[in-house]
């Protein structure tokens, strides 16, 4: 029998509703597992043991009175360290924000609190969500529970590990170029990046604002849907949230009438054998379930990464200019104002974040704007059109989530470009603003492999129905 921390969110919900378990039991089981495994995994940067136990007790008392705040009432979850919780430290895994205390709740946090979720702690990440391995944390790397010598992926690596190692029932992540889906793939969990505009970014520390989106990391597709539903919705504090048709699960057992496209350009590129085989097997399962699988054209497969690595640093360099040691965060004491800026940002912002700030500053500087930023935004239009064209013929596009399985810690840190190439299959959804999900493949020989599905804007229902049918097959 599963121990309490190993339950899925859905199983725990059912057990709570039938009074077969208490939130306190679930929470204690997660905290015990964190105590035992976090020193080796470094998934959590801070654990909120006392308040978590109090929140669990309050939830149990509500349930005893026949009250419920919602589907997440009493469910212990983990929060990525770039989402503000009033009165709690929030560092984005950066030295410059090591002692920063949030002044207010992010909108997603407000929603999770209103539903009675139990907050276990904040999870490690690449500094300012910049990276694909969680090695860029100022507080040490997180380790993959399937092989502690390997990276968990990133930037939401701490959240992915917390879910995969049963340190929590589900977790929040943020995704700018693959930061939910890629670690989900490396750790063998489900990760959903919703359509841009679905989930409020208010209170999420901004990286590249036109790509950033919050989403769930979970043990099953159904769990991901529950957490997504809980945080989605238009918000007056984020002008880019949209009044779209609300998400409604539309689970299906077979995939009759569903068309899935395999983008030729993506499948032609260097995909490791240990990734290609399980994903091809997943394709055969989808066919068996009744889906029609066809090859589709999706041009600009390589350019999408180039567009991303121009637009993202431009936006990031602008967003990170606020970390200058003046109003909050660390401040180095130097002889004058200019030196204070230079030293504060030079000493307290890590190498990858500095690299992206410099890249963005360069691409936006006088004389280069047209060649880089403007050109990238024009090619982005072509990419959006290419996705829209492809998705008029099919319901979803299918690729591996990543070209390789999780690699060894330290093996790519000195080669940023090779690290960036790992985002090849995930950045497209961000550049085109579409929803995408990574689901663990069933037939793997060793380390986890993810199947990546990209869907139509605001149609997470179909996307998750396909993912769910595969998972349940």
């Amino acid at each position: 029998m599963k121990s309490a921390n190993e339950l899925t969110l859905t199983e725990a919900r059912e057990a709570l509703d039938h009074a077969e378990i208490f939130s306190l039991e679930l929470t204690k089981a997660c905290l015990a597992e964190i105590q035992s495994r976090n020193p080796a995994l470094n998934a959590f940067l801070e654990i909120w043991q006392e308040s978590a136990l109090q929140e669990a007790k309050a939830s149990d008392e509500r349930r005893a009175r026949g009250e419920s705040l919602g589907v997440l009432d009493g469910i212990p979850i983990a929060i990525k360290d770039n989402m503000l919780i009033e009165g709690r430290k929030c560092s984005s895994a950066s030295k410059i924000l090591e002692n920063y205390v949030s002044v207010r709740d992010a909108t997603v946090i407000k929603k999770l609190k209103a539903q009675g979720a139990v907050f276990l702690g904040r999870t490690n990440m690449d500094e300012f969500a910049m990276g694909g391995s969680t090695e860029n944390s100022a507080f040490g790397p997180t380790r993959n529970p399937h092989d502690p010598d390997r990276v968990p992926g990133g930037s939401s690596g701490g959240s992915a590990v917390a879910v995969a190692a049963n340190l929590c029932l589900a977790a929040t992540g943020s995704d700018t170029g693959g930061s939910i889906r890629q670690p989900a793939s490396f750790c063998g969990v489900v990760g959903l990046k919703p359509t841009y505009g679905r989930v409020s970014r208010s209170g999420l520390m901004a990286m590249a604002s036109s790509f950033d989106q919050i989403g769930p990391l979970a043990k099953s597709v159904e769990d991901a849907a529950l957490l997504f539903e809980a945080v989605a919705g238009k918000d007056a504090l984020d002008q880019t949230t949209v009044d779209a048709k609300p998400f409604e699960p539309a689970w299906r057992e077979n995939l009759q009438g569903i068309r899935i496209g395999l983008p030729k350009q993506a499948w032609g590129q260097g995909i490791d054998g240990e990734v290609r085989t399980p994903v091809e097997h997943a394709v055969s399962v989808l066919k068996r379930l009744g889906a029609e699988v066809v090859d589709v054209e999706l041009p600009y497969a390589e350019e999408v990464l180039a567009v991303y690595y121009i637009v993202m640093p431009c936006e990031a360099s602008t967003n990170l200019s606020r970390f200058d040691g003046m109003r909050y965060g660390a401040r180095e004491h130097a002889s004058n104002l200019l030196e204070t800026y230079l030293e504060t940002r030079g000493e307290n912002i890590g190498p990858e974040a500095r690299r992206r700030i410099l890249l963005g500053t360069y691409a936006l500087s006088a004389g280069y704007y047209d060649a880089y930023y403007k050109k990238a935004k024009q090619v982005q239009t072509l990419i959006k059109n290419a996705y829209a064209d492809a998705l008029t013929h099919v319901d979803a596009l299918l690729t591996p989530t990543t070209p390789t399985v999780a690699y060894e810690i330290g093996s790519k840190v000195n080669d940023p470009l090779s690290m960036y190439l790992g985002d090849l299959f995930t950045v497209g959804a961000n550049v085109a603003g579409l929803p995408a999900v990574s689901v663990p493949c069933k037939e793997v020989s060793g380390l986890p492999v993810g199947m990546h599905l990209t869907g139509k804007a605001f149609d997470e229902s179909t996307l998750l129905a396909i993912a769910g049918a595969y998972e349940q097959s």
């Binding site: 003046m326 004058n336 104002l337 030196e339 800026y341 410099l358 024009q378 940023p416 470009l417």
Partner: protein, 101 residues
């Protein structure tokens, strides 16, 4: 293309990031390889292609333009986050330097 050390230093100055000489060297190599990669965009014909629009910004979504009060607790958190303060006020280095004699 290759960035000179002077260009790197200038960009770092614009971004207000202090870099050691050794870092200038390393950052130069990193940026060269990334700029080399993104250069493939120059081959794409984008004549008459509009720049991708900003994400949907609906005018109806703007909040009313009025000051939001903050609670005493929020104020205390803001002040506690100041890197330096004096009498509950933010303390920052002088913008204008004392004239040299």
């Amino acid at each position: 293309m290759s960035l000179s050390h002077e260009e790197i230093k200038n960009v770092a100055f614009l971004a207000r990031i202090g870099l050691s000489d050794e870092e200038v060297e390393r950052v130069g190599k990193d940026l060269d390889s990334i700029l080399g990669y993104v250069d493939r965009l120059q081959k794409i014909d984008t004549a008459d292609v509009p720049e991708a629009a900003s994400p949907v910004v609906d005018a109806k979504n703007f909040r009313v333009d009025e000051a939001d009060a903050c609670t005493d607790a929020e104020r205390a958190l803001i002040v506690d986050n100041f890197p330096a303060s004096q009498g509950g006020m933010l303390k920052a280095p002088a913008v204008f330097e004392r004239p040299k004699k």
